[in-house]
């Protein structure tokens, strides 16, 4: 009798669980069938009337029914929860194509990037970075570089003088002289000197009264022109591509002897001739040479013991060549639309 009752409860419970459409309804089913005042408890209470043989059988059945209902409820509960979560997630759906909250970063100036690249290359080659004053004494800007006061290559008109003896440096070469002096006649001296320089020019597409220069200097026992050629080859390949070749042409600078001009094979046409190289296959990049013995002597180095090479380049020129920039004034107008284009440079 009780047995039938239990089996019937089981059927009822399964049916109720099945039709429960929410966690609340399921909770009601739980209370109704498994609660302290629920029908199974009632059945168990009525067991006293049963025989000793029947009691354990019914007891066991009652427990099984209880467990089975509890399990079904758990199962259903998990099911309902999963459905709820799914609904919740569905409601949280967003338009992933809306713009995100990005951080707008600033740009590094192209000249800064070129200078940094050259600095890093030469640091790797053992050159330190030296800087010096932009307002110089005539002595360091000219005389110590073998340009005595009445040298024909000197023209007061080309420089911004502040007094007869003080001027805006016209090149970064005075840093050479300062650096040599600091070393008091003992090598090696291995530096590059980047910085701003000033010439008395009218600003136009190819001239700027202020521009950048990077000077290199290496003084030691037995420094050779072939070493200059080797270092400049490394530089050219690094800055303009691994298949660049260089050539040195004789030139003249008062502070070097011999003096050379370095050309690289055209990176646009590979040497066949184009408008970048004006049909020659070669592009003039920088001036260099072996440090003039007078320069060494004046800065306290004994030219019979030391030799050295020096080179000087213009970051603006390098940038203009590399990216086909048409007007040097772009570097100082600082138009953000210009700067932005070279953020990866």
């Amino acid at each position: 009798m009780l047995k039938e009752k239990l089996l019937e409860l089981r059927e009822q419970a399964i049916e109720n669980i099945g039709s429960a459409d929410g966690l609340k309804a399921l909770q009601d089913v739980h209370v109704r069938f498994l609660g302290k005042k629920g029908p199974i408890t009632e059945v168990l209470k009525g067991m006293g009337k049963l025989s000793a043989e029947e009691r354990p059988v019914v007891g066991q059945l009652a427990n099984e029914v209880r467990k089975m209902i509890a399990a079904k409820i758990e199962e259903k509960k998990a099911d309902l929860e999963a459905k709820l979560l799914e609904m919740k997630l569905e409601s949280e759906k967003i338009d992933v194509t809306l713009p995100g909250r990005k951080t707008v970063t600033g740009n590094h100036h192209l000249l800064g990037s070129i200078i940094r690249e050259v600095e890093d290359l030469f640091i790797g080659l053992g050159f330190s970075i030296e800087e010096g004053p932009e307002v110089e004494q005539d002595y360091y800007n000219f005389e110590a570089l073998n340009l005595p006061k009445d040298h024909p290559a000197r023209d007061m008109q080309d420089s911004f003088y502040i007094t007869d003896e003080i001027l805006m440096r016209t090149h970064t070469s005075p840093v050479q002289a300062h650096t040599l002096e600091k070393h008091k006649g003992v090598g090696p001296v291995k530096v590059i000197c980047p910085g701003k320089v000033y010439r008395r020019d009218n600003d136009d597409a190819t001239h700027s009264h202020q521009f950048m220069q990077i000077e290199g200097l290496y003084v030691d026992h037995n420094v050779r022109l072939s070493d200059l050629k080797g270092i400049l080859t490394v530089f050219a390949k690094h800055m303009f591509g691994a298949d660049r070749e260089i050539r040195l042409r004789p030139s003249f600078f008062p502070f070097t002897e011999p003096s050379v001009e370095m050309d690289i094979s055209c990176f646009r046409c590979g040497g066949h001739g184009c408008n970048v190289c004006k049909g020659t296959g070669w592009i003039e990049i920088l001036g260099a040479g072996m440090v003039h013995p007078n320069v060494l002597r004046m800065s306290g180095f004994d030219p019979s013991e030391y030799t050295g090479f020096a080179f000087g380049m213009g970051p603006e020129r390098i940038a203009m060549l590399k990216y086909g920039i048409e007007d040097i004034r772009n570097f100082y107008t600082d138009d953000i639309r210009f700067l932005k284009q070279f953020n990866r440079a």
């Binding site: 100036h109 040298h151 024909p152 000033y198 026992h221 037995n222 072939s226 003249f252 002897e257 953000i336």
Partner: protein, 803 residues
């Protein structure tokens, strides 16, 4: 220097080298050939014709009808030139010919008369009008030329002109013989030079004229030849054409020959009309103060005692090396010529020419230097040509003062030094071979060589010059590329350079773009926005190119404001920029300013753009302050930094603060003054400038590692009501001073002004974190410190705990 390929062949065999190939070889050896021009380019069908008859045109008062013999035929040509005449040999553009400007000549009719070609002026054949002689008509050959032949070779219009860029170092190539020596060395072909032959009278020139030089330190040599019987006339065709090729206009035989010899030998010569000279004595001296001379361009020149003057003993007849005087100029009537061949000090000539603004072919040669040993040769060459082409009779000898020749220089050096400096592996024979190609005499004694350098190579004075000579002729392309074998060295950025780079990266990641602006600016802007304004005038340049770039900036901010304005004018209002660069701070009593590297920035417009999430946010004071705080945090100096409200010209009086490091002002930040913004048409903009160099001069503090905490911290919030005049910094200070070692951090998280507090009050809420690395703090311990803080705030700042 314009070098005629045809002329050069007088001295060196150029067979097998086209003008282009020659130019490349010259360029590779060190003198840049900037340009090659072909004067006869595009000309076709120009032949030598002979005018057989020349009759007036029946219907014209200026045209002539000519029968012209072209060798193979005789044609009728109508000619409008005033100088046309029967018997002339002239260049004729035949039917179908091309003349200058690619103009085609066709059979045509002039007022009914048929014309089969054109008689040509030189300008019609492409010769620059300013160079062509007889510009009033057609060119007439003055000598025997074969009728019917191509005219171009006879007019040197088959030539190529190489334009050499002559620098100070290559002044020895400012003449044809110098170029010839150079080309002879480069091509390794011999040079052929002729010694001038002068047929002199028995009468000695020094019987008729004497010379004295007072300024002998500046005039090492002054020589003169006297020539009589001169007939001034046009010079021969070959001289005229060579002058034209060199860019010099032919004038008359006397003038042309002195120019020709200068082009050939590099020695400037001057010719005086001796009949107007005014004395028989040449005195070379310094000019007197304000002494005047009228030069042959008709200009009255005022001289100084630094100028060298050629005089007749009384008055000036020429400014030495620069320009002759009008009073003794050679004219068509000249019969007797005094020819000057002298060496003047280059610097003196340079200064005079530059002051008088009279730079000429002659003065530029004096300025760059001459071959000391060619001066008499040049005088002889001129005498030779004047006798041949101007009927000159030459008096015997050169009247002179000073040494006509100087010894060649001898450079002694170990020949291996060449290899040592170049990194090459040349044999002794190769080295001496190259030097001999340069026409230097070499004498080798064991390891040492003695090289005799001719005076024409006055630029070669030291062993290093010989290294260059050998290197450039051998070719730098044949020298290997090596890597230095010297002392190994390592390199790294200095601490300052490293931090400066980090600062750049930080500024850019915060959103500021790097700019470079000019150091030279207007005087007024050079004095504005200075961090430490000492009221001194900014450093100024003597000759600015413009008022815009006349003075050295003492602050970067004015330039940044210009950059913002530039962008605003181009519809780009939201911008953030920074610059790291030198400012130039005048030092009292010194011409040279102190230089200090500063970091400056500007932000303008929005810090958040309008987007789908909401409205834009404008930048404000705290945006710019946040930039500096982030920087100082990154550099680990925040503990040493204070901000203090300040008033600065050009800045908003209520939104500006000085930045102090260890109590010293190192910069400022804040809003631009609304008036400045209005005047410049700017939006609200905020700026900062910091003396980053003084901030970072000593590099960074060492990193101080702490073991990670093992005990929890305790956080307490505190809301304090204070008068509005109390600054946040005051509260921070009192809280920190009273927090003992347990107080780890203080964070202001709320500022309230409104109806819940009195009108003159505000509430500020802080979050305080307490922590002891050794143990967990008890509530009592925290309470004790917390209470102390609250009491101190109450006592010192009148702060009340907000309920």
């Amino acid at each position: 220097m314009l070098v005629s390929y045809k002329w050069l062949q007088d001295y060196v065999d150029l067979q097998g080298f086209s003008p282009e190939e020659l130019a490349e070889r010259i360029t590779n050896a060190g003198i840049e050939v900037e340009h090659i021009s072909y004067p006869g380019k595009g000309l076709k069908g120009i032949v030598i014709g002979k005018v057989l008859t020349c009759e007036p045109h029946p219907d014209s008062d200026h045209l002539h009808v000519c029968q012209v013999d072209l060798g193979s035929e005789t044609v009728q040509i109508v000619c409008g030139a005033p100088n046309v005449a029967a018997g002339q040999k002239v260049p004729v553009a035949t039917n179908g010919a091309r003349i200058a400007g690619n103009v085609k000549i066709r059979r045509s009719k002039f007022r009914g008369v048929e014309s089969n070609g054109m008689l040509c002026a030189l300008s019609e054949l492409g010769v620059d009008k300013s160079l062509a002689p007889y510009e009033d008509g057609i060119y007439v050959f003055d000598d025997e030329v074969p009728v019917g032949e191509d005219a171009l070779p006879y007019l040197n219009l088959d030539d190529a002109i190489l334009d050499l860029d002559i620098l100070v170092s290559s002044a020895h190539c400012m003449n044809m013989i110098g170029v010839a020596y150079e080309v002879s060395a480069i091509l390794d072909r011999p040079i052929q030079l002729k010694t001038p032959v002068v047929n002199e009278l028995d009468q000695a020139a020094d019987e008729k004229v004497s010379i004295s030089v007072e300024a002998s330190d500046k005039v090492p040599y002054y020589g003169a030849r006297l020539m009589t019987g001169i007939e001034v006339a046009p010079s021969p065709r070959w001289i005229q054409l060579r002058l034209i090729a060199a860019g010099v206009r032919p004038i008359s035989n006397v003038v042309d020959i002195s120019n020709y010899v200068m082009l050939e030998y590099g020695q400037p010569l001057h010719t005086f009309d001796y009949d107007t000279f005014g004395s028989d004595h040449v005195l070379v001296r310094y000019a007197g103060e304000n002494e005047e001379i009228t030069t042959l361009d008709g200009q009255k020149r005022t001289l100084t005692p630094e100028d060298l003057l050629i005089t007749n003993g009384k008055k000036g007849v020429a400014v030495a090396g620069v320009m002759g005087g009008e009073n003794t100029e050679v004219s068509d009537a000249t019969k007797t010529v005094l020819l000057e061949a002298a060496i003047f000090d280059s610097l003196t000539v340079r200064k005079t020419a530059s002051r008088l603004q009279l730079r000429s072919e002659a003065s530029s040669r004096y300025e760059k230097g001459l071959d000391r040993n060619r001066v008499a040769l040049a005088a002889d060459r001129a005498a030779e040509l004047l006798s041949l082409y101007a009927h000159a009779t030459v008096l015997k000898g050169i009247v002179e003062s000073g040494d006509r020749t100087v010894p060649d220089q001898i450079i002694t050096m170990p020949w291996q030094k060449i290899n040592k400096v170049l990194g090459s592996d040349l044999t002794c024979e190769q080295i001496t071979g190259i030097l001999k190609r340069l026409n230097f005499a070499v004498d080798v004694e064991n390891d040492v060589m003695h090289v005799t350098v001719p005076t024409r190579r006055f630029d070669v004075t030291i062993p290093e010059d010989l290294v260059e000579e050998v290197g450039r002729v051998y070719g730098y392309n044949h020298i290997p590329a090596t890597l230095p074998e010297g002392t190994s060295s390592h390199a790294a950025l200095t601490p300052y350079q490293k931090i400066r780079r980090r600062t750049e990266v930080l500024m850019e990641s915060i959103g500021l773009s790097q700019v470079y602006t000019y150091s030279l600016t207007e005087k007024e802007s050079a004095s504005s926005y200075v961090v430490h304004d000492k009221g001194l005038e900014p450093t100024q340049v003597i000759w600015p190119m413009s008022e815009e770039h006349a003075a050295l900036r003492q602050s970067i901010v004015p330039q940044l404001i210009n950059v913002v304005q530039y962008h605003l004018n181009r519809q780009m209002p939201d911008v953030k920029f920074y610059e790291i660069g030198k400012v130039f701070l005048p030092v009292d009593g010194e011409a040279r300013p102190a230089e200090e590297e500063h970091l400056a920035g500007v932000i303008s417009g929005h810090r958040k753009e309008r987007n789908w999430e909401g409205e834009p946010l404008a930048v404000d004071f705290f945006s710019v302050k946040g930039i500096l705080e982030t920087l100082f945090d990154t550099l680990a100096v925040s503990d040493r930094i204070d901000y203090r409200a300040s008033r600065r010209t050009g800045m908003h009086p209520g939104q500006t603060a000085d930045v102090l490091l260890d109590g010293e002002v190192i910069g400022y930040l804040g809003a631009l003054h609304p008036k400045v913004q209005k005047d410049s048409g700017l939006n609200e903009s905020f700026v900062f400038e910091v003396a980053i160099e003084s901030l970072l001069r000593n590099g960074e503090a060492a990193i101080d590692y702490h073991v990670l905490p093992r005990f929890p911290s305790t956080t307490r919030d505190i809301a304090l009501v204070v008068k509005r005049t109390v600054a946040a910094a005051d509260l921070y200070r009192v809280i920190r001073e009273n927090g003992s070692q347990l107080l780890k951090s203080v964070n202001l998280f709320d500022v309230y002004e409104g109806s819940h507090v009195a009108d003159d009050e505000k509430s500020m809420a802080f979050s305080l974190v307490y922590f002891d690395p050794e143990r967990t703090l008890t509530d009592d311990e925290v309470n004790a410190v917390h209470e102390k803080i609250v009491n101190a705030c109450a006592e010192q700042l009148g702060a009340e705990l907000r309920g």
